[in-house]
């Protein structure tokens, strides 16, 4: 995209007006600048609207029973913030396995979700936490609308975000007793786009799993939940047999492809292994 202008609004209202006029948001730039460099003249020309001066997008707080994280919160902040570590440790866990320090310092929560790679590492944890994204702008003007993360990813690199809308925050409902875990597989421990990622969460009451969620990355057109595995886990005893059955069920919801990073067959194998690990971790935590 030939960049015709650069704007750095200092208020949300100004940012929304610039987006309404056709500007493209840029947060950390760790996806967008790579894209610009790869095809400097590709696509229609456009203006960039940088979000870096919008302080309201960078806060992390607990509000009305939700952990509310601004879209501009960086992955480095997610990794270390005490409120994230307390209320959504699985998100901090994914942030810890994300890229390297320089990218973590720039990359944002909103950018990860809006870029909507099937391998976006923050997506599986947010899916198992029943997170909701908050959007503003577009037709709705400054009014907000909320979309469950579950319904936000609609296709490869496609989301429910409408033209002119800005993702302003992500809300995670607090739930005492919920345990969650994340695992990512790649070819090396650092700096790798996930070949497969898996997150799981559940409550454990009297040895029985409740509110079970399991979500997968890089094995389908979008990050996705596994209804088959969730059905196996829901109400099941926390036993080795349950873990094995759920890890098998996960494979029914995965539709991996062969690509430069891994074959579909390897992805399925790795998925089975990592699914067992996260479920066991949820049980043992």
């Amino acid at each position: 995209m030939p960049v015709t202008a650069f704007h750095a609004p200092s208020s949300l209202a100004d940012a929304l007006a610039l987006l309404a006029a056709g500007g493209r948001p840029v947060a950390g730039g760790t996806d967008l600048v790579v894209e610009l460099a790869a095809a400097p003249d590709g696509g229609p020309p456009g203006a960039l609207v940088s979000l870096h001066r919008l302080a309201e997008l960078r806060s992390v707080a607990v509000e009305d029973g939700d952990l509310v994280m601004g879209a501009g919160v960086t992955v480095a902040t997610l990794r270390e913030h005490p409120l994230v570590r307390e209320h959504a440790p699985v998100l901090a866990q994914a942030a810890d396995r994300f890229a390297g320090p320089q990218v973590r310092n720039a990359a944002t929560l909103g950018g990860n979700l809006c870029h909507a790679s099937p391998a976006a590492d923050l997506a599986p944890p947010l899916l198992v936490l029943d997170a909701v994204v908050v959007l503003a702008g577009g037709e709705g003007g400054e009014a907000e609308r909320r979309v469950p993360v579950d319904a936000f990813f609609v296709g490869p690199r496609r989301t429910a975000r409408l033209p002119g809308e800005l993702l302003t925050a992500v809300r995670v409902p607090l739930r005492g007793g919920r345990r969650a875990s994340f695992q990512k597989g790649g070819t090396r421990p650092s700096m790798d786009i996930s070949v497969v990622s898996v997150a799981a969460s559940a409550e454990l009451r009297d040895g029985v799993l409740r509110h079970a969620r399991i979500a997968l990355g890089a094995v389908g057109p979008t990050p996705l939940r596994s209804p088959a595995a969730e059905a196996v886990l829901e109400g099941a005893p926390a036993t080795a047999a349950t873990v094995a059955a759920a890890a098998r069920a996960v494979l029914r919801d995965a539709r991996p492809i062969d690509d430069v990073r891994a074959s579909a067959a390897y992805r399925l194998h790795l998925l089975g292994v990592l699914a067992q690990r996260v479920i066991r971790d949820v049980i043992d935590r």
Binding site: V3, V33, A37, N105
Partner: protein, 160 residues
């Protein structure tokens, strides 16, 4: 701001102005109009860390940072680490530990190590290795770089 305009920022403690286009990266501006070639252009896609600089004290990839997001902010490049010709403790440690071979990764490594030590003055070898997980070196095998980081940490504790 559209087409080329004058970008004001603070580089290595000095206010500077450089012409920048709306889509330019910080790396373009540093290596181009500002003539600071310490930050290297390796991959230009965030993978190698050779372009690492400090932006308001945080290590970032200059190749992924849009120049105009740096307006009015502080950038430190390897050129800004020494004081009156005296190398910084991290630079000194890299020299003393023979942590430099071809030197292409070194400016980025040194800045990343500087950022790491600012937050964690006594990293374990594992923490030092994780600290440079975003920096590639094709020559040294990393062992001496990790040694240099630990030596700089020890020197920093001796002379805080």
């Amino acid at each position: 701001m559209s087409s080329t305009a004058d970008l004001d920022l603070v580089v290595n403690g000095e206010r500077v102005t450089a012409p920048a286009r709306p889509g330019d990266t910080l790396l373009d501006v540093l290596r181009g109009p500002l003539g600071l070639t310490g930050a290297k252009a390796g991959c230009r896609e965030g993978e190698c860390g050779a372009c690492t600089v400090l932006l308001d004290g945080l290590a970032v990839n200059a190749c992924l940072t849009l120049a105009w997001t740096c307006a009015g902010r502080e950038v430190v490049t390897v050129e800004g680490l020494s004081r009156d010709g005296v190398l910084s403790p991290v630079q000194r440690a890299f020299v003393d530990a023979w942590a430099v071979q071809c030197g292409f990764c070194t400016p980025g490594m040194v800045l990343q190590a500087t950022a790491l030590l600012a937050r964690n003055p006594d990293p374990t070898p594992e923490e030092a290795r994780r600290g440079i997980e975003g920096n590639l070196c094709r020559c040294t095998g990393y062992g001496r770089i990790v040694e240099a980081i630990r030596a700089a940490a020890a020197a920093g504790r001796a002379n805080p």
